[in-house]
Every structure is written in structure tokens, then in C-alpha cells.
């Protein structure tokens, strides 16, 4: 990348920057600790409706 292009990239980063207004995204809990993993094609197919079916 040439110096000219690098300058364009920096320029765009400045003029294109969205407003700085941070907001925290709260991480959600979706899995249960007691969930068990299933390995292999058949078990995954049989356990398609089980938690952690395909891990």
C-alpha cells in the first residue's frame, strides 16, 4: 500500500468515524453448566433436540 493510499485510509478513518458514545452490551447466559456434550454423527442426529447436541 502506497503512502497516498495510507493517507486516504487515515483520512477516511477520521471523517467516517461514528460518534463516540459507548454503550455496554450485557453478555447473556444461554448454556447450563450441567449440559453434556454429544460426539459423533449418530449421537448428534439422535440428540438433535438435546442441549450441546453437537459439541
Amino acid at each position: 500500500m502506497s503512502g497516498q493510499d495510507f493517507n486516504i485510509e487515515r483520512m477516511i478513518a477520521v471523517i467516517g468515524a461514528p460518534p463516540a458514545a459507548p454503550l455496554v452490551m450485557m453478555r447473556q447466559q444461554l448454556e447450563r453448566e450441567k449440559d453434556t456434550a454429544l460426539h459423533g454423527l449418530l449421537l448428534r442426529l439422535l440428540g438433535a433436540f438435546s442441549p450441546k447436541a453437537g459439541q
Partner: protein, 596 residues
């Protein structure tokens, strides 16, 4: 918000009717087929294929009931104040990944122009969120961004940023924006790179969000536009003609737990930030890692937190573009398949509302059902090999041969029932369109009828091919293969027969194998199998033929007969930008930056 509102009585009633009817249809098909299979003696394979029939019929019945419910009511706009000016700040998010910037940014210019005509444009900003990895494409994005800024005088309200790493793909891209800039806006309209929304529609959905403080997400029903190929035009027609009815049925059942399809929707930014921070699932893709079909999960999480998620199917002016051929459709479907099957990990996530879990089940079933259909066909071919031999003289005391009871009538009745569930919804939608005069918007009674019948025929021919692609996708995911994040191919989509053959030769082989197996084991089945196996054997020709330009008078849609204003604006901008005037073009087009 954590107080979860109760589901309305009307939504509960619609859900109960649809579920009960689907379950009853499935049980009826199961018992009829079991009787038919048991005519020569009940064996294990009869039970297996009856079970496959049970699941597949439930799924068919569910789709049919959605359409039938959708025909019973009409979408209505909520009564809200449309006089007062907007008081909120809204950002329109355009996540992009290896897209053609001319095509994408011209849509942004058109939407900005459309918003300006509403008099409410000052309340809206645009943010282009680039996840592009290719430096050449990124260089083009920057240059065309400058052109967009210049043409729309957009500095300070049309933003562009490129992430250093595309962690979490599209969901991570939006999350990154909310974390850095989300507090500046009350609402965010989330688009795809090919989305196009009328300015009036954007103002209307913002007003609806303002009017209902419990509304966390409002989804519009996007129509497919600008399709050129036969396949693309058939899909475009179907989304304009059939989808509003299916969407009406869905809307009747949604309660506060409506759908989110990832784009052409507006979110309440703070609700989204509080509720939708997606975890990275333990383990590797395809089941572990980042959540791929994040939209379903985000809708479920908003509902879990007590926010309303709603599809307003009365809204017009929301558009997107679709794949032009079956191969591109199958590539996109592969990604959706992986995402939906990954939801098996989330079915028992704590606190989710029952309907959200059922929506996950629907998404999973929509892919697994292909396996059930295929399993049913295979089991039917193999059944004679597993069944007990027919005994014509069961007892020495009776000199005459005893033939098994003839259950052909039963089988024919079952086939008519299944076929009815497949085609009846579309036939009823067609009849409804004629009775209510909706066909005028599709070119009149005769053109609309021809288009609807042709679409029905084409969807029947392509169904076995799509079933095979879906089945492969399911097996690939179950075998642990990650499909990755392929860039969209938004070209004209034309495929030569050789290209199509390279993409579907395995379907041809399986089709021939199915016919060969049937001719050995149960030759009487061959006529019944031909509607499935013939399209499979001919799939390269079908795929190639459907990828070619469609006839402009077939599959006419309202948007073709009378393009929406934002579509006209977009076409004007695109024409200007593609005109090739070097003085007007960024440096890249004049060739000075092609070494980037």
C-alpha cells in the same frame, strides 16, 4: 425490563388452532400409512417410514395452517400519532462484507434522498460497518464512500468504519458499533448490504417504536426486487404473491414473541444492548463458537427480557435482493442450516419463552424435514426387501389362495392429502387474490394466474433438488464441518450446464442410484418416484435453465409494474455512478489506484 407480558388470547387461539390441526394431520397420516404398510404384515420398516411420514406431514400441515390463518384476517397499521415530528435519533446500520461498494452505497444514497423528502431526514444517520478483509475491495469502499459523502453532503451523518478483525461476523459487527456509538441513538435500523427501504417506511417504523415504549424490535416484511433470472423472478413473484399471506399467519401467532430476520428491522438500541450480548458457545464450529443465526436468538433474548418483538406485515416499502440461481440459494441455505442446527444448543437456554423455543424447533425442523422425506423415500424403496414374504396359503385347511388386503385406496387417499397440503395453500392464496382483486397488482387476472401456476410447477420441480442440497447441508453440519462465511455472489447468476453439473453431479448420481435400486427391489414404485428422481437426474439442465434471464412478462410483481420511489432513486444514482465519467469518478476508476 423483566416483567414478561402474557400472550394475547387471539395469538394463543391462533397458535392452538395451527398446532392442533398440524398434529392431527400428522397423526392421521401416520396411522393411515401404518395401515397401508401393514397390509402385507407389520414390520419394523413400516413403523420407521410411518414415523418419517408423521414428522414430514406435521411440517407440511404447519406451513399450510400458517397460510390458511393468514387468509382469515388483513394486516392493519396501528393507530399512532403521525403528525408530530420525530423526537428520536435513529441510525441506519449497513453491515458489509466483500460487497460491491457501487451497488451498496448507491442504495444508501437513494435511501438518504428518500428520507430527505419526508422532512424527517435530520433524525437519521447512516453507518456503513465494513467487515471486508480484501484490501482491494476495502480501497474501493473508501473511495466510493468519498463519492457518497460528496453527492449527499453527508459528512457528519454518513459514517464509515472498517473493523480490524471481523470477530462474530455480522452480529459482532453490529455489537461493535453499539459498544462504541450506541448511546448516541434511541433506535437503529439494521439492514443487509442489499436492503433498500423507503424513507416514509423508515419514518413510520421509528414512529411506531416511539409510540410503544415496550417495543424492542419491529420487523418489516421485505420484498425481493430486481431479480433477472427465471429462478430469481419466480422467487421474487412468490415473495410478493404468497409471502404476505404466510406472514399474516405468522403475525397472528406471534404475540409479543415475533420474528427477527436479521435485517430490514428497527431495534431499540438500549433494549438490544441490555438483552442481546451473545455469548460465544463452548466448543468449535459448527455447533460451538459464535452464534451464526443470531437474529432468532436476539429475538428470543429480547422477549426473555420482557420486550415486545413484532412483525408488522402491513408495512410496505421494504426491499431486498435474492439469489439468482439454485446454487447460490443452496450456498446461503448452507449457512442458515448451520445456524439453525446450532440452535439445538440453545433450546433449553434458561428463561426463554415457550414460543421462542418452539421457533428454534421450527428452524431446526425446517432443515431436518428434508432428511425425513428422503428417509421415507429410501425406506419405501427398501421396504419389499425387509418385509415378510407374502403367504398365499396360510392354512392347509383352505384350498384357495388368500391375497393380502388391497389398501391401494388408502394409499391414494394419503397421497392426495399430502399433495393437498403442498399445493392447497398456494391455490387458496391464488383464489383469494382473484376474489379480492389483488391480481391487478400482478398484471391482471390472466398474467397473475399464469405466473402463480408456473411458480407452483417450478417449485415442485426444484423441490427434490433443494431437498438434496438441504440434506447434504444437514449431514455436513452433523459431521462437524463448518461452512465458514462465504461472500455473497451478487452477479447475474448465469450458469452453464457444465458449471451446474459441477455443483450437482452428486444429485444426478443419487437420482440414478435411487431409480436403479427401485427397479431391483420394487419396480412398481418407479412411477411414484419419478416426480422426485427425474428432477434429480436432470438437475444440471434444470439449474442452468433456471439461471438464465427470465421472460419480462412472466412473474410480474407490483414493484416491476410501478417501481417504488426509492427504487427509482437508486436506479438514477446507480446509472450516474456507472456512467463512467472519469471526472466524476473516484481515482480508482480512472486507474490511478489499481495497485492497492
Amino acid at each position: 425490563m423483566t416483567i414478561v407480558p402474557p400472550v394475547s388470547r387471539s395469538a394463543n387461539a391462533a397458535r392452538t388452532v395451527a398446532l392442533t390441526a398440524s398434529v392431527l394431520a400428522a397423526i392421521a397420516a401416520f396411522s393411515l400409512f401404518l395401515r397401508f404398510g401393514a397390509a402385507d404384515g407389520l414390520d419394523k420398516i413400516d413403523v420407521v417410514r410411518s414415523f418419517f411420514m408423521l414428522i414430514a406431514t406435521f411440517w407440511l400441515g404447519w406451513g399450510a395452517m400458517q397460510a390458511l390463518l393468514g387468509l382469515t384476517t388483513r394486516a392493519r397499521a396501528p393507530e399512532i400519532d403521525r403528525v408530530q415530528p420525530l423526537t428520536s435519533r435513529i441510525v441506519v446500520l449497513v453491515p458489509i462484507y466483500e460487497e460491491d461498494p457501487i451497488a451498496t452505497f448507491s442504495r444508501i444514497a437513494a435511501m438518504d434522498m428518500s428520507l430527505a423528502t419526508t422532512g424527517q431526514g435530520d433524525h437519521f444517520d447512516f453507518a456503513i460497518l465494513s467487515d471486508t478483509r480484501d484490501d482491494f475491495v476495502a480501497a474501493r469502499e473508501r473511495l466510493w464512500y468519498l463519492r457518497l459523502l460528496r453527492d449527499r453532503d453527508g459528512q457528519g451523518r454518513i459514517f464509515y468504519r472498517r473493523r480490524a478483525a471481523n470477530t462474530g461476523k455480522k452480529a459482532g459487527n453490529v455489537e461493535d458499533f453499539i459498544q462504541s456509538s450506541g448511546a448516541a441513538y434511541e433506535f437503529a435500523i439494521i439492514l443487509d448490504a442489499d436492503s433498500l427501504i423507503e424513507g416514509d417506511t423508515m419514518v413510520e417504523i421509528a414512529r411506531r417504536m416511539q409510540a410503544d415504549p415496550k417495543l424492542g424490535l419491529l420487523q418489516t416484511l421485505p420484498r425481493i426486487i430486481l431479480a433477472r433470472s427465471r429462478f430469481g423472478r419466480a422467487m421474487q413473484f412468490s415473495t410478493a404473491f404468497n409471502s404476505p399471506v404466510f406472514a399474516r399467519g405468522l403475525a397472528m401467532m406471534q404475540g409479543q414473541t415475533g420474528p427477527f430476520w436479521g435485517h430490514n428491522a428497527i431495534i431499540r438500541v438500549r433494549a438490544f444492548a441490555q438483552s442481546c450480548g451473545l455469548p460465544v458457545l463452548a466448543g468449535k464450529p459448527p455447533f460451538g463458537g459464535h452464534i451464526l443465526s443470531h437474529d432468532y436468538v436476539e429475538a428470543a433474548l429480547l422477549a426473555r427480557a420482557g420486550w415486545t418483538v413484532r412483525l408488522d406485515d402491513d408495512l410496505e416499502g421494504s426491499f431486498e435482493e435474492g439469489p439468482e440461481n439454485i446454487v447460490d440459494h443452496a450456498k446461503r441455505d448452507r449457512r442458515w442450516c448451520q445456524g439453525n442446527l446450532q440452535h439445538t444448543r440453545l433450546l433449553f437456554a434458561p428463561g426463554l419463552r415457550g414460543w421462542s423455543r418452539f421457533v428454534f424447533v421450527q428452524g431446526i425442523l425446517s432443515y431436518l424435514v428434508s432428511i425425513f422425506w428422503l428417509g421415507f423415500l429410501l425406506a419405501s424403496i427398501l421396504a419389499p426387501a425387509f418385509g415378510p414374504p407374502t403367504v398365499y396359503f396360510p392354512t392347509q385347511y383352505w384350498p384357495m389362495p388368500v391375497t393380502p388386503p388391497d389398501e391401494t385406496t388408502l394409499a391414494i387417499g394419503l397421497i392426495i392429502g399430502i399433495f393437498g397440503m403442498l399445493v392447497l395453500p398456494k391455490l387458496m392464496i391464488g383464489a383469494d387474490a382473484v376474489l379480492r382483486g389483488r391480481t391487478k397488482r400482478f398484471g391482471g387476472l390472466w398474467p397473475a394466474t399464469v405466473s402463480a401456476m408456473t411458480e407452483l410447477l417450478l417449485s415442485s420441480i426444484t423441490a427434490p433438488i433443494l431437498m438434496m442440497y438441504q440434506t447434504r447441508s444437514v449431514f455436513q453440519v452433523l459431521l462437524g464441518r463448518d461452512g465458514g462465511w462465504p461472500a455473497h455472489d451478487r452477479g447475474d447468476g448465469g450458469l452453464r450446464v457444465s458449471d451446474a453439473f459441477a455443483a450437482c453431479y452428486w444429485i444426478v448420481i443419487l437420482g440414478l442410484a435411487g431409480l436403479a435400486l427401485a427397479s431391483v427391489l420394487s419396480s412398481s414404485l418407479i412411477p411414484w418416484l419419478l416426480p422426485v428422481t427425474l428432477p434429480m437426474v436432470l438437475s444440471p439442465f434444470i439449474i442452468s435453465w433456471l439461471s438464465r434471464p427470465g421472460h419480462p412478462t412472466l412473474f410480474l410483481t407490483p414493484e416491476e409494474l410501478s417501481p417504488a420511489p426509492v427504487m427509482q432513486l437508486r436506479a438514477e444514482v446507480l446509472d450516474q455512478w456507472q456512467a463512467g465519467n472519469v471526472d466524476e469518478q473516484p481515482e480508482l476508476v480512472s486507474g490511478r489506484l489499481q495497485h492497492v
